[in-house]
């Protein structure tokens, strides 16, 4: 056997062996992903199942009135449960957070990626990332001792004197039911949430903005656009869907945030037009009351039902964002708009 034969044999054998190995690897990989995927779905189903086992009781008792009920009284003998104040508080604080955080985050993302380069941009980027690392209870403390006093004394009176006089949106910014600005309120909670979600929206926003093809940027610049016009012309339209996705990620965090909100939102049941009134959110009430909630009566069951509602709200927003993303993605690719059945399916999910 000549030495020159050996490599040839090896060469012929290697691909076959590799292919065999790949096939086994594929099967293992496939099996594992299936197990993991199935496990995750089971976990979700199990979780919802456990919540629903008790959580349906208030719905059985009160029907739809549980959703629109404004009373929440866990005192035995006078029990009465309605979810509306919490739904309202959760949606409103999260909405405030999104409205305030998204422009800031998008602005930051554009500033860091499109305008500023060099050490200053790096410092800002690091600071924004650091913001994400601060525990939420620390945000809560800061809210109680710094933000809330500032809000009560200066910011809220100022807003009431300026924006409060504007028709249409004015009523949102008036003195609270006791005629002043003291106490925790949904606006302060929204502001804290905004600060908390800016980092994640900025980080994802930067990723999104960096995917805009250089071709498009150069097309705009070559037409004689300034940097700002280039952003408006090429960057923003292209990244709209991604920015919606980034915002939804932030919204998800805002909806679920518990402790910082519980510390500043006022934990009161009222539903008022003015945002300077106290409110209550679903995570906050669950965290505050689960210890005393007994299985007798509907208190514990109502808290579980609130948890279900929170999941439903989150899913609803997720579905909504999918819809938005799909619409603008279709625009960008120049493909057809999503078929009606797809829209119907998503709306069904919501």
């Amino acid at each position: 056997m000549g030495a020159s034969d050996a490599p040839i044999v090896e060469k012929a054998g290697a691909p076959a062996r590799r292919r065999g190995r790949t096939r086994v690897g594929d099967a293992v990989f496939k099996g594992m992903t299936r197990i993991v995927a199935f496990g995750l779905v089971m976990l979700l189903v199990l979780m919802i199942g456990v919540l629903a086992a008790d959580g349906v009781r208030p719905f059985r008792e009160f029907g739809w009135r549980f959703l629109i009920g404004r009373n929440w009284n866990p005192v035995a003998g006078r029990q009465s449960f309605g979810a509306l104040p919490f739904i309202y508080g959760t949606v409103v604080t999260s909405t405030i957070a999104i409205v305030l955080a998204v422009p800031v985050a998008v602005g930051l993302a554009l500033l860091l990626n499109e305008v500023a380069r060099g050490w200053l941009a790096n410092i800002v980027a690091v600071l924004v990332d650091l913001l994400a690392a601060i525990p939420s209870v620390v945000f809560g403390l800061w809210g109680v001792f710094v933000l809330q006093p500032a809000m009560d004394r200066t910011i809220e009176p100022f807003l009431a004197n300026t924006v409060g006089k504007v028709p249409l949106v004015g009523p949102l910014f008036r003195a609270n039911v006791s005629g002043g600005f003291q106490g925790g309120d949904v606006f302060t909670a929204g502001v804290i949430l905004a600060v908390m979600i800016v980092p994640i929206v900025t980080a994802v926003g930067r990723e999104v903005v960096s995917t805009v093809p250089r071709d498009l940027r150069e097309a705009a610049l070559a037409l004689g656009s300034t940097r700002f016009e280039m952003v408006r012309m090429a960057v923003l339209p292209y990244s709209r869907s991604g920015i919606v996705g980034a915002s939804m990620l932030g919204l998800g965090r805002a909806l679920g945030e518990t402790i910082a909100v519980a510390m500043v939102v006022g934990n009161s049941l009222g539903i008022h037009v003015s945002l300077f009134n106290g409110g209550y959110t679903i995570p906050a009430v669950i965290a505050n009351e689960f210890r005393e909630a007994s299985s007798e009566g509907l208190h514990k069951a109502s808290l579980l039902a609130l948890a279900l509602i929170l999941i439903a709200i989150a899913l609803m927003f997720a579905a909504l964002s999918r819809l938005l993303v799909r619409r603008s993605a279709a625009l960008v690719s120049g493909g057809p708009a999503p078929p009606a059945t797809e829209l119907a399916r998503l709306e069904g999910a919501a």
């Binding site: 093809p213 071709d215 498009l216 940027r217 150069e218 097309a219 705009a220 610049l221 070559a222 037409l223 004689g224 656009s225 300034t226 016009e229 012309m233 090429a234 339209p237 292209y238 709209r240 603008s328 625009l331 960008v332 690719s333 120049g334």
Partner: protein, 286 residues
């Protein structure tokens, strides 16, 4: 057959457009007594980081004529044209030294605004790059919107004029409000030409505008270049020797970032001074 018919149609259409240009249609103020649009390149060097892509380039580009730039891949053709409208500096780490005199004024002088230069010196890229979220018409007038001050109807009129000038009008007049990304590749490229023409630049730089196109679209773009040189200074980068010979009045041959030979196209292709030019244009190179 049908295809041929429609092509001659649109050629006729464009010929009449050109008449309209000189009579000033559509807004009556289009006649330009502009300077000739000469470009003088003096000792130009360009870098990407430490890589020197242009070496002491000297060149005079004549106004109202077509100058072709030829040379093997990587010799710096794109870099050179991108230095002519200050797009080179948009690449991170890129740097330029030397002068580019446009109508006698150095576009790299410290008081010159690159935005202003890019408005006067338009550019068409190798790959069609219409704005995907904009309609055909919005794409055509994108540059005009930047300048501002035009009403909707004026914008539409100018858009139509630009689309006609780019030989695209007949094909898209019924789909002006569809996304620009839905056009074919050749149509997209002509849309990009229309977009560049709409702002009425004095110079049009084209970096291999036909490299991604079929022969018919290529032919149209070549015809278009012929028409454009009546009013514009055109610089066209091409890999296609025949194309350079067909469309250009002047040809520049580059190698490794240096100018090897620059002269009238007919001379460069038949009696080049440099042996390397001869090797390249006859296909014996490398």
């Amino acid at each position: 057959m049908e295809r041929d018919g429609s092509m001659t149609d649109s050629v006729v259409m464009r010929a009449s457009d050109l008449e309209n240009w000189s009579t000033g249609a559509p807004d009556g103020a289009r006649v330009r007594n502009a300077p000739a649009g000469d470009i003088e390149v003096v000792d130009l060097n360009a870098w990407f980081g430490n890589h020197r892509a242009l070496r002491d380039v000297n060149l005079s580009i004549n106004g109202r004529a077509v100058t072709a730039i030829i040379g093997p891949s990587g010799c710096g053709k794109s870099t050179l044209v991108r230095c002519l409208n200050r797009m080179h500096e948009e690449v991170r780490g890129a740097r330029v030294e030397g002068k580019v005199l446009f109508d006698g004024r150095d576009i790299y002088a410290p008081d010159v605004d690159p935005v202003e230069i890019r408005r006067r010196i338009g550019m068409v890229f190798q790959r069609p790059n219409p704005f995907p979220t904009m309609s055909v018409l919005d794409n055509a007038v994108a540059g005009l919107k930047l300048v501002g001050g035009l009403s909707r109807s004026e914008l539409r009129e100018r858009g139509e004029w630009a689309l006609r000038a780019a030989g695209l009008w007949e094909e898209v007049k019924d789909r002006l409000h569809e996304p620009g990304a839905r056009l074919s590749g050749g149509q997209q490229q002509r849309l990009c030409i229309a977009r560049a023409l709409a702002v009425e630049p004095e110079v049009l730089l084209m970096d291999e505008p036909a490299s991604a196109l079929d022969p018919a679209s290529t032919l149209r773009i070549e015809e278009l270049v012929q028409e454009l040189k009546e009013r514009y200074t055109v610089v066209i980068v091409t890999h296609n020797m025949q194309q350079a010979a067909r469309v250009s009045d002047w040809t520049l041959f580059m190698l490794y970032g240096e100018v090897v030979e620059f002269g009238p196209t007919s001379k460069l292709f038949t009696r080049p001074d440099d042996q390397r030019t001869e090797d390249y244009v006859t296909g014996r190179f490398g």
